[in-house]
Subunit: 199 residues, 2 copies
C-alpha cells in the first residue's frame, strides 16, 4: 500500500490527468427559473469540487442549427454561458471566440430552450480555451504558476503537443487538463489518458 | 518578380501548406452507377493533381445518425471509402479505425444513399490518419522520405505540434498537409495556414 501511494505520488509529479468537456451550458439562477421553473438540481458531481452535472437539459439554438439535450452544469453562475467546439459552432452557424470560461464580453449569443421557457443570451457563446486546473501543491511541484502558458504532451492514440495551454491555480481545483471535443478527438483521447507539461 | 520567386522558394523549403479535409466519400464505378445512374462528374479540381470534387452527393447512414449532402471525390476508385472525423463517427454511431486512405480492411461499413439508388458498404469507414503529401523534390529538400513519421508544428490560432504525421511521397502529389476537421479545429486552422516539419 505504501508502495502504491509512492508510485501514485511520483506519477502525479510527472503526469496530469486529462478530461474532455462536451458542449455544455451555464445559467444564472434567474435563467434557471425561466428555463425550468426551478433552480438546477444535481445529478452527479464533476471532477472540479463543487461543480455538478444537473438533471436539467436545454436545446441550444443558433442561426443555422440547434443541439438538443445539452448538459447544464451547476451551480448557477453570475452569467449565462454556452461552451461548444468549433465543429459545433459550424453546425449552429455561430462564430465564437476562443476564451477562458467566464470571459464572454462581446461574444455571440444563442437561444436556450428549457422545459418551462426560453432564454435569449445576448452574448456568452465561447469555445473554451484549453487549460489546466491545478492545486497550488501540484503547480508548485511541477514548477508552474497561475496564468502561465505551457505546452502539453499528450500520451494518447494520436499523440501531439498542445501549445498555448493556460495554467489555472486555485486551492479548490482538482488537477486536470480540460480539452474540448475537437482537441480530444485530434489527439485520440480516451478516458484516463495522461498528459505531461512541457515548459 | 525574381525576388518573389526566391522568397517563395525559400518559404517552401521551411513551411508546408495545410488543408482540412471535411467528411467525404470515394466510390467505385459500379457504386457510382448504382447511386447516381452514371459515373462521377467533376465540379472542381482539388489540390492533389487529378483529384476532383464531383457534382454528386450522398447521404451517409450509420446506426445512430446520418449526414446528408456529403461530398463525393473523384475519380472513382477500386474500393468505396468513407472518411469522417471522430466527431462525425460519434454522430453516426460508428467506431472507425484511424488509417491512411485506401487501408480499409476490417473497418466498419455504412449505407450510402444517392439520387438513383443505395449502396451498402460492408467496410470502408475510416478516420484519415494525418499525413503530408509531398513531391520527391520537396521531400528531398526537407530531408524526409516516403513513409517517414514526423512531427508538424502548426502556425495557427491554437498552435500545437502534431505527432505521428505520415509523409507520403509521389511524383504526382502536390505538397500539402492533410488534417481532418477535428484536427483542423483543435489547432484553429484557417485556409492558408502553414506548418513546419520537425524531425
Amino acid at each position: 500500500m505504501e508502495t502504491e501511494k509512492l508510485v501514485d505520488a511520483v506519477l502525479h509529479r510527472i503526469f496530469v490527468e486529462m478530461e474532455a468537456s462536451g458542449r455544455h451550458v451555464h445559467v444564472t439562477k434567474q435563467q434557471a427559473m425561466t428555463l425550468f421553473g426551478h433552480g438546477l438540481t444535481p445529478k452527479r458531481e464533476l471532477s472540479q469540487p463543487g461543480q455538478y452535472l444537473s438533471n436539467e437539459r436545454v436545446t441550444v439554438v443558433g442561426p443555422k442549427g440547434k443541439f438538443q439535450n445539452v448538459a447544464v452544469l451547476g451551480p448557477e453562475r453570475p452569467e449565462g454561458q454556452v461552451e461548444i467546439s468549433l465543429t459545433d459552432a459550424r453546425t449552429l452557424g455561430i462564430d465564437p471566440p476562443i476564451r477562458l470560461s467566464g470571459d464572454v464580453a462581446g461574444s455571440p449569443g444563442a437561444i436556450l430552450e428549457g422545459s418551462a421557457g426560453t432564454v435569449t443570451l445576448r452574448e456568452g457563446v465561447i469555445v473554451a480555451k484549453r487549460h489546466i486546473h491545478m492545486t497550488p501543491e501540484d503547480a508548485s511541484a511541477m514548477g508552474v504558476k497561475d496564468g502561465q502558458v505551457v505546452r502539453l504532451q499528450t500520451y494518447t492514440h494520436r499523440p501531439l503537443v498542445f501549445g498555448d495551454v493556460v495554467v489555472r491555480v486555485r486551492p479548490d481545483f482538482r488537477t486536470r487538463v480540460h480539452l474540448d471535443i475537437d482537441e480530444a478527438n485530434a489527439c485520440g483521447f480516451v478516458s484516463g489518458d495522461l498528459g505531461r507539461i512541457l515548459q
